[in-house]
Amino acid sequence: MSDHDHPHDAITADAKPGYYEIMETAIRELLIGKGLISANDIRRQIEVLDSRSPALGARVVARAWTDSAFRERLLADGRAACEELGITFYDDTDLIVLENTATVHNLIVCTLCSCYPRPVLGLPPDWYKLKPYRARAVSEPRKVLAEFGTVIPDDVEIRVSDSTAVIRYLVLPRRPEGTEGWSEDELAAIVTRDAMIGVVPVTVNAGAVS
């Protein structure tokens, strides 16, 4: 098998563009010249990408923890429930929200590439796109989770969901004990990206760092 773990070159601010960067600029300018896309399309989409981060997913999770009717709608139709909160889906994908319980732990992966719930989490981390996670999440999820420091008891079922170009998943983590009476904002602050991928639980000590 090929090895997908290759280092990126160090990024320096004043470096001359490399071959592939030149290719990107050339393709973009040619397509704009032909009227197939516009410079404004690209600029607008960069703004959209910059507007997406795990903070959006954290809001969704916190709402689901505090509003059981919303939670039901979220589990029935993830995309529609996120749209209720003003989160737009720019990439024509469906979203299935997977609820962790006392007996089931969910994990998401894209074995074929890097499909990910970008509208609600932003872009995936590099490790999600690299071979070890993609290869092993489906065959030995408990070992992979242990590498993230997450030990799932043997009597808890692990379900791994493999994303596609049009179906994306988001994990609804379990609400940690000791958060009774917390506000939605306080709850959102402890929900991390990795918890919504399913590789770690939400804990009361976690900051909103992802």
Binding site: H8, K16, P17, Y20, E24, A26, T111, L112, C113, A165
Partner: protein
């Protein structure tokens, strides 16, 4: 075992042997973010959809996939798909790349 060559295409990694997960990440370089935005715009405009992009990467073959980082794979795949769809020609791209290179070298 030559059967290994056809039993799995390069993107089909599920269940393969692999080492431990290193929790690596990096902030996208500006051109990588532009490349991502280009991919999204090509999808919205129904020029190249996500599955065509994935297949385009796969069509690069295991050797190139192993050697090129993520967005480098995407942009090469886009070039090939655009050639195949008759939306760009290799000559146009080569000419434009030479122009962009000369322009940025002069900056």
């Amino acid at each position: 075992m030559t059967a290994d060559f056809v039993s799995r295409l390069p993107n089909d990694l599920g269940g393969a042997e692999a080492g431990p997960v290193a929790r690596v990440d990096h902030e996208l370089a500006p051109w990588e973010k532009r490349c991502h935005a280009l991919a999204d715009v090509l999808d919205f405009k129904k020029i190249i959809n996500t599955e065509e992009k994935r297949k385009g990467v796969e069509a690069l073959g295991a050797d190139l996939i192993a050697k090129l980082p993520y967005y480098e794979r995407w942009i090469v795949a886009f070039a090939n798909i655009l050639f195949a769809k008759g939306l760009l020609t290799p000559t146009e791209l080569a000419g434009k790349m030479a122009e962009v290179e000369a322009r940025t070298a002069a900056e």
